[in-house]
């Protein structure tokens, strides 16, 4: 019964999306396009790939040329929210009419905005066109703070809602029965996996509970976003450096603020080494803790996901690039086989990167809260349970 209600809700949502897409498609249909938007040369492919890797202000699914020779873009607009010289301004991204070359000027509340390579610029007084200097910085425009619901923010919202829906329904199931049914049966082992394989061994039996909520959220957030990035919807959220930076900074904040006396003691005044070396070590440790660790987190995730997207799209581009050499069928087959192969690898990478990010976050937190009593806990069989300190020793 409940499932059917959810299905109805889901179909309602889907229908709304489809309607919006249609409306949007019609709008763009009316707009005459000088550039037909086809991607056929290597430089266009490169530009297309770079464009995809960036965030965008509209949700673009597919483009085609209709019988009348007009280019039709299917997708839906997203709200643009910018904080510029005149405060907050809001409008729908459809007002740019798919322009990302800074040609279409949107005038709102006395400010004029252009979209240049997926970034919103606010033109200065009297400027009618975006002008760049040699270093490719705009000379007559400023960058407003862009708080738009971009494609990435939209993806984050969708994943957030999905997670809330899935896991809160799993949580509700436990009120009725101790073993969940349906999709909850899939989610439960994953939750247990993160708890028992990531949080518990890295943080330690005593303190893991406090941080498990964060680790679980981050793990599923990254994993689902990575997976959505592999769908043809074209999300690239975890390949946005701002997103991975926010995740890494949050981990940094958590382990800096939960670090105990031993942790800071080991950073500033490392015991067991000659006094003269201690200040040097302090600098190294401090840089390592505050900069290198979060930087490694943010770059690893960003680079892996971006690389995956670039490789996958390049392999798909074989279809176009080798069309002349291998005939259309040959190039399509080659591209299909290669991109299928890399897609499977990327499926693994999607999980692996989520795992590594969560695992390292847990490890860093574990190092910050580890106690140095070296009084190891024992499990039921009398074997020593390794604590975070041992793992740190092994890790280093």
């Amino acid at each position: 019964m409940k499932t059917s209600i959810y299905s109805i809700k889901f179909f309602g949502l889907l229908l709304t999306c489809l309607l919006t897409i249609n409306v949007f498609a019609n709008q763009s249909n009316e707009q005459a396009q000088q550039d037909d938007g086809r991607v056929s040369t290597p430089s266009e492919i490169e530009e297309y790939i770079l464009h995809h890797l960036k965030d965008s202000h509209g949700f673009h699914l597919v483009s085609y040329t209709n019988d009348a020779g007009e280019r039709v873009h299917v997708g839906f607009p997203l709200p643009v929210i910018v904080y510029g010289n005149d405060g907050f301004t809001t409008f729908m991204s459809s007002e740019f009419h798919h322009d990302s070359e800074g040609k279409v000027i949107v005038e709102k509340n006395g400010s004029r905005f252009v979209n240049y390579h997926s970034k919103i610029y606010e033109l200065e007084e009297g400027a009618t066109e975006l002008v760049f200097d040699e270093a490719h910085h705009p000379v007559n425009a400023s960058k407003p703070l862009d708080l738009s619901i971009t494609k990435s923010v939209f993806g984050i919202l969708v994943v957030g809602l999905l997670m809330l829906w899935w896991f809160s329904s799993l949580a509700r199931q436990y009120k009725k029965r101790s073993i969940p049914k349906g999709f909850g049966r899939v989610l439960e082992p994953l939750v247990i996996y993160v708890r028992d394989e990531i949080a518990r061994p890295n943080i330690g039996e005593k303190k893991y509970r406090k941080f498990t909520g964060y680790l679980l959220t981050v793990f599923f957030f990254i994993w689902i976003l990575n997976l959505i990035g592999l769908t043809p919807l074209g999300f690239n959220v975890t390949g946005q450096i701002a997103v991975t930076a926010a995740l890494a900074v949050l981990t940094l904040i958590i382990y800096v603020f939960s670090g105990n006396k031993d942790f800071w003691g080991h950073i500033f005044w490392m015991p067991g080494v000659p006094i003269l070396i201690r200040p040097i070590l302090a600098v190294i440790e401090l840089v390592g803790t505050l900069i290198i660790k979060p930087f490694s987190l943010l770059v690893r995730l960003f680079a892996n996901i971006s690389a995956g997207h670039i490789i996958l799209m390049s392999l798909i581009a074989i279809m176009i690039n080798l069309k002349a050499d291998l005939t259309p069928v040959g190039s399509t087959a080659l591209s299909f086989v290669l991109s299928l192969f890399i897609s499977v690898i990327e499926l693994l990478v999607a999980f692996l990167q989520a795992y590594i990010f969560t695992m390292l976050s847990a490890l860093f937190i574990g190092m910050a809260v580890a106690e140095h009593d070296h009084d190891h806990e024992h499990d039921a069989h009398g074997n020593e349970i390794p604590d975070a300190e041992d793992i740190r020793e092994n890790f280093i």
Binding site: L147, I179, T212, L250
Partner: protein, 166 residues
Amino acid sequence: METLLNDFSPGLFMMQTVLLIVLILLMVKFAWKPILNSLNEREEGIQGALDAAEKAKLEMANLQADNERLLQEARTEREAMLKEAREIKTKMISDAKEEAKEEADKMITQAQGAIESEKKAAIAEMKATVATLSLEIAEKVVKSELSDNGKQMKLVNEMLSDAKLN
């Protein structure tokens, strides 16, 4: 590096930070806390059930040992009782035998006594009779002697032959 910095969008960073924090708080409140609590409860329940089963097994073994012990005790007791009964039986039989013997002895003695006294009484009576007879004989002898000597002798002979008959 410059491209990276250029690609870094402060707006997206802010949105992501805010949304992620909100998501973490909501997930912790509505999902992780109840899920982890339920999982813990369930695991403790399973552990408890296992412990209880182990305990029940131990108790069962104890109970079995108890039963065995009780059975053993009962068996020993039965044996003891049987032995006692056998002893009592033997004793009773021997007692009865002894008593019977005593009684018989007594009866025999009594009978012997009775016989003895009867015999004595008979002998006494016989003696008396003999005496009376003798007296009568003597009387008669005396009487006849007093009349005729021959006759007296004849009488004595007669009487003696009579006396032989006795």
